[in-house]
């Protein structure tokens, strides 16, 4: 639980709690891989109680699950803290292997096997190893045949420990484990196996309108007490299936199921107290009196796990607060073929049996004659248009009720003008991607965009995709997020590997090393007395956005995250700016940087005229398309001023966001589309089609994206900086401020007509004048 919290929020407190609990778990291991469950209040282990005897069964499997997840979340970050836990884990694994290799269920139980399997899979994700994979595969194979019955015969696919044992709600994690195994082990057959219980048994639960505690092999249901840790595996199982199969309906069903915690149960009472976070143990009867208001640790944990997972999935999150209508069925053999659920605002949703197929569909009869039409404006460049075309087509295929029409933004100097003009002419689209920060504050002032962090679908996606720290700099003064941070292109120093080798230069880490590299790389190759090979392409043009490729990234590398203006004040008059300008000045003064304007459209890096350039990952795709023969390149982080802590380096990334315009008539549908555009699948496409990076947490280490990242060279290096970026300040005059800085750059660095500090002071004064004039 705490591990999940830490994963989502990076809160160190959560991590410490987790580690404390993990230590406890490891202590419970008895030296041979078996575990006990309880200790008494004095800390003495309880070895005698039936549910605590030393064994490898439920609690043992749970322990393995916890340790496995810990390895995955914390293993690479804090190996020192994980190391002491490793021996206990290894012993437990061996113990499990003994059972599995003998083709016995762990502890004789499907539940324990499933939880052990989850632990193994977590380990496999953290550190892939053939042994672990094989063991996991065998464990999964043990689970598959346990699904008893068929679509029409009880128990409809439920996993039973033995053919005569009943199905238990609590701990029915086989589906979740199998689905997860399908993804991690890349075995689609396991996903099909996982579907059986979900499409069969669980469908009946939803059609019946409530969840039983137990189901006999002949289909008789024992409805009460319904317990939290019976519902939670269903929710997480559906979500795992959604990920394994890519079918959104599973995620929607997960949300509907998770509604149990929020009131969609026979007692009609929320089981999860959203204020205190405590969960009641369960429901004993059909009235409020039947709520078992004890809040055991297990319930709380289960509920939180399930809700956390559901609120991080946009499709689930949108369906979270529905309650079934009508009378709950008394028996599972006779359930209606559809059931309607009603949401907090009266909206209706129907789950119905799929025709000629297993499982349920979720329909949202909208009472409309035609589908909702949304207009979507992506960016104009060909890579992104291709991407947008594919994504839109995929969405339209899956969402007949919400159709998206895509119109590429017209190409021009900046899309800001286009969108602003559209606002004035009241001709805005519903959704537009490629919204820059420079535009955002203006859009918000004009009341032109919808707030996103309080809308179910986008809020869920924000939670899944970013950490609070990543969102901090995007919040407007009222705390809201008004555009979804979509893609980022952190800049790095790209260099020509061969030129470096020939000059005997290593990738520079500090600015003095960079200057030294300048000196060694600039040369006169045709003997005419003039340098014609230069070190770095620092643009000489004064257009404001050219500073993104020379001064600004060098400044950010040393400024520890400080940008240009903050709180209505000028903050760029500092050492980092001076050292950046000074470095460039020396480069130009000594003729190491080219002062010429290259012919229009020519890129001197591709033909080897300059050895380095500061650029973002989108350029990798361009390089690939240009197919320059013999150009070998690599990237390195932009050097910081000497003495600056390299871990405090930031780089410039032109963050692009997706915005929903307030002229839209379907904000919730638009939010769902935005959540789709930023889903893991869409993000993978973004990387593969456009060689650009999604603004996603832990991108470089998330196994779901490593394959996509390796599609382009050097992209993995870029990905490491996704969370260490700074964008343009959210200031309406940021363009003019960059123009002013360009003047300082020209005067101080390029032509050296004025000392750097003076140029900077002048720029600061001009900027203050602009701010004051507002």
């Amino acid at each position: 639980m705490y591990l999940r919290a830490y994963e989502l929020t990076r809160d160190t407190l959560a991590r410490e709690e987790a580690l404390g609990l993990l230590a406890f778990i490891a202590a419970m291991e008895q030296g041979d891989g078996e575990f006990i469950n309880f200790v008494d209040t004095l800390g003495r282990p309880n070895r005698t109680a039936p549910s605590s005897r030393k064994s490898m069964t439920y609690w043992g499997a749970r322990a393995v699950w916890a340790l496995g997840e810990a390895t995955r979340v914390l293993g690479s970050e804090r190996p020192d803290r994980m190391a002491p836990l490793r021996p206990a884990l290894d012993r437990a694994l061996n113990r499990i292997a003994r059972d599995v290799n003998a083709r016995h269920l762990v502890g004789g139980s499907a539940t324990a096997t499933a939880e052990a399997l989850l632990g193994l899979l977590a380990l496999q994700r953290a550190k892939p190893s053939p042994n672990v994979a094989a063991l996991a595969g065998r464990a999964a194979d043990l689970l598959v045949p346990l699904a008893a019955g068929a679509a029409d015969s009880p128990p409809w696919g439920g996993h039973l420990d033995r053919p005569d044992a009943p199905w238990h709600a609590w701990g029915s994690r086989s589906t979740q484990a199998l689905a997860h195994a399908a993804v991690v082990l890349q075995r689609p057959d396991l996903a099909d196996a996982a579907r059986r219980e979900a499409d069969g048994l669980w469908s009946r639960f939803l059609l019946a309108g409530h969840f039983p505690e137990q189901v006999a092999p002949d289909g008789r249901a024992k409805w009460f007490p319904q317990i939290a840790y019976g519902v939670s595996p269903i929710v997480e199982g559906y979500l795992a299936l959604a990920e394994a199969t890519g079918e959104r309906r599973y995620a929607m069903l997960a949300g509907l199921a998770a509604g149990w915690f929020l009131g969609a149960n026979p007692a009609g009472e929320p089981m999860y107290d959203e204020r205190t976070g405590r969960t009641f143990d369960g429901v004993d009867g059909a009235t409020a009196a039947g709520v078992n208001r004890n809040a055991g640790a297990e319930s709380t944990v289960e509920a939180l796990l399930a809700l956390q997972a559901a609120t991080s999935d946009p499709d689930a999150a949108v369906h979270l607060r529905f309650r079934p209508t009508g009378n709950p069925s008394a028996s599972l053999t006779e359930v209606p073929s559809s059931r309607e659920l009603v949401g907090p605002n009266g909206e209706r949703v129907t789950v119905r049996r799929r025709t000629r197929r297993e499982g349920l569909d979720v329909d949202q009869p909208s009472g409309r004659t035609g589908p909702i039409i949304l207009t979507y404006w992506p960016a104009a460049n060909p890579g992104e248009v291709r991407l947008a075309t594919r994504l839109t087509a995929a969405w339209n295929a899956e969402n007949p009720d919400v159709q998206v029409r895509m119109q590429p933004l017209p190409a021009g100097r900046s899309t800001e003008e286009v969108l602003l003009a559209a606002i004035v002419a009241k001709a805005t689209p519903d959704v537009s991607s490629n919204v820059s920060s420079a535009l955002l504050s203006r859009l918000v002032r004009a009341g032109g965009v919808v707030r996103l962090d309080d809308r179910a679908a986008t809020a869920a996606r924000l939670q899944e995709r970013t950490t609070p720290a990543m969102l901090a700099s995007l919040r407007l003064p009222d705390g809201g997020i008004y555009a979804f941070p979509w893609k980022t292109n952190p800049e790095m120093l790209m260099y020509n590997v061969d030129l470096f080798a020939r000059a005997g230069v290593a990738p520079p880490r500090t600015q003095s090393e960079l200057l030294d590299a300048f000196r060694r790389l600039a040369r006169d190759t045709d003997g005419d007395g003039r340098i014609d090979r230069w070190a770095l392409w620092a643009p000489v043009k004064t257009t404001w956005y050219e500073r993104f490729y020379d001064f600004y990234p060098l400044y950010l590398a040393s400024s520890g995250g400080t940008t240009l203006v903050a709180n209505g004040d000028v903050v760029f008059e500092n050492d980092a700016a001076v050292s950046a300008l000074e470095l460039l000045r020396r480069g130009f003064a000594e003729g190491l940087l080219p002062r010429s304007n290259f012919a229009m459209g020519r890129d001197p890096f591709t033909d080897g005229t300059v050895a380095m350039k500061i650029i973002g990952p989108w350029f990798v795709r361009e390089l690939n398309e240009l197919k320059v023969p013999g150009l070998r390149y690599d990237v390195t982080p932009i050097p910081a001023a000497d003495g600056v802590d390299p871990n405090k380096r930031y780089t410039f990334a032109d963050l692009r966001s997706i915005a929903i315009f307030s002229t839209t008539r379907h904000p919730d549908a638009a939010a769902r589309f935005v959540a789709y555009l930023t889903s893991p699948a869409a993000d993978r496409l973004l990387i593969e089609e456009a060689s650009q990076l999604p603004y996603r947490r832990s991108l470089a280490t998330d196994s779901r994206f490593s394959a996509s990242l390796t599609r382009w060279p050097t992209l993995t290096t870029f990905a490491r900086y996704v969370e260490r970026t700074r964008d343009l300040d959210l200031d309406p005059d940021v363009v003019e401020i960059f123009d002013i800085l360009s003047e300082a750059y020209e005067q101080g660095a390029v032509y050296g007509t004025v000392p750097v500090t003076q140029a900077l002071a002048r720029a600061a004064a001009e900027t203050r004048k602009i701010i004051d004039a507002r």
Binding site: S414, E417, L420, A421, I423, V424, R442, L443, R445, A446, G448, D528, R530, V540, K541, T542, T543, W544, R595, S596, N597, F598, A599, M600, R602, T609, P732, D733, V735, E736, D739, E743, E746, Q747, V750, Y751, T753, A773
Partner: protein
């Protein structure tokens, strides 16, 4: 023959109104209204998205202290100081050369006039390539002749003169025609008379041709000035206003303020200031040259 004074018939009056009504509407919408609005915008602050707010004389005050604006004005001065004499000299020389019976006269005339019909954007792109420091034609020629290449558009000293030369090149054909037309009017008799008096070619030029061409010269000066103040596409394409702001033209500054900074009120102020400046300069020019003409 009817008398010149005619009675205006009803139907004529009506036709007159009918035929000219579209034009009147057009003028009102696309000419008069924008001018009025432009002047109104001078006193407003508007970023096109939010509602405009009254700004009093703030824009004017800002303009008077705006170093970048006055730099742009200075740049215009530099440009004109190079462009106008060059234009007059080149056009006059070519016109004189063409003002006689020549083989292929039409061809010469056509070649000089060619750049006039070409779009300014194309000329800017072409000359941007010509001036390119690395592979531009001009530098290649210089290197071939043994000189060092010159960074035409990135050296603060050469950038504006480079543009001035280019604009001269583009327009000279136009002024050649004007001078040629003027030259036709110099009566043959006058020329012959002076030739008979034994005046040298230079004296003929200085005392006869030049003064008689004064009206054309005034025209050249006026049109070049107006053209020069309206310089936009050349710096926009070739230098973006640099280096060190030496090629920043006033119109470019107007464009930047309107479309990059979204300061519509301020941009309109620049526009009005520009109109005023052009008016004043042209008036002064005509006055000075007019007095010369009177002599």
């Amino acid at each position: 023959m009817h008398a010149d004074v005619r009675t205006v018939t009803r139907s004529e009056e009506r036709s007159g109104w009918l035929l000219s009504a579209p034009y009147a509407v057009f003028l009102a919408t696309f000419a008069v209204y924008p001018i009025v609005f432009a002047i109104a915008l001078v006193f407003m602050r508007w970023d096109l998205v939010t509602a405009p707010s009254f700004a009093g004389l703030d824009n004017v005050e800002l303009l008077l202290q705006d170093a970048r604006f006055w730099r742009a004005v200075l740049n215009m001065g530099v440009f004109l100081a190079i462009h106008i004499p060059l234009q007059i000299a080149a056009a006059l020389a070519l016109a004189l050369a063409l003002n006689r019976k020549l083989a292929f006269r039409a061809f010469w005339r056509a070649s000089f006039f060619l750049p006039v019909v070409i779009s300014g954007a194309v000329v800017a792109i072409l000359w941007n390539s010509l001036y390119a420091t690395d592979v531009g034609l001009i530098n290649r020629l210089l290197v071939r002749l043994g000189f060092a290449p010159v960074p035409w558009l990135t050296d603060p000293l050469t950038a504006m003169p480079a543009i001035a030369v280019m604009v001269t090149w583009k327009n000279v054909g136009f002024y050649v025609i004007i001078y040629l037309a003027g030259l036709q009017y110099i009566p043959r008799s006058c020329q012959e008379a002076i030739e008979l008096e034994g005046a040298s070619a230079w004296q003929r030029f200085r005392f006869l041709t030049l003064p008689l061409l004064l009206p054309q010269t005034i025209l050249v000066v006026t049109l070049s000035t107006i053209n020069g103040f309206q310089l936009f596409i050349e710096p926009y394409v070739m230098t973006g206003g640099g280096p060190l702001g030496r090629t920043y033209s006033v119109v470019l500054y107007l464009y930047t303020n309107a479309f990059s900074y979204q300061k519509m009120g301020y941009a309109a102020t620049i526009g009005v200031a520009l109109a005023v400046m052009i008016g004043v300069v042209v008036a002064v020019q005509r006055w000075v040259l007019g007095r010369a003409e009177a002599q």
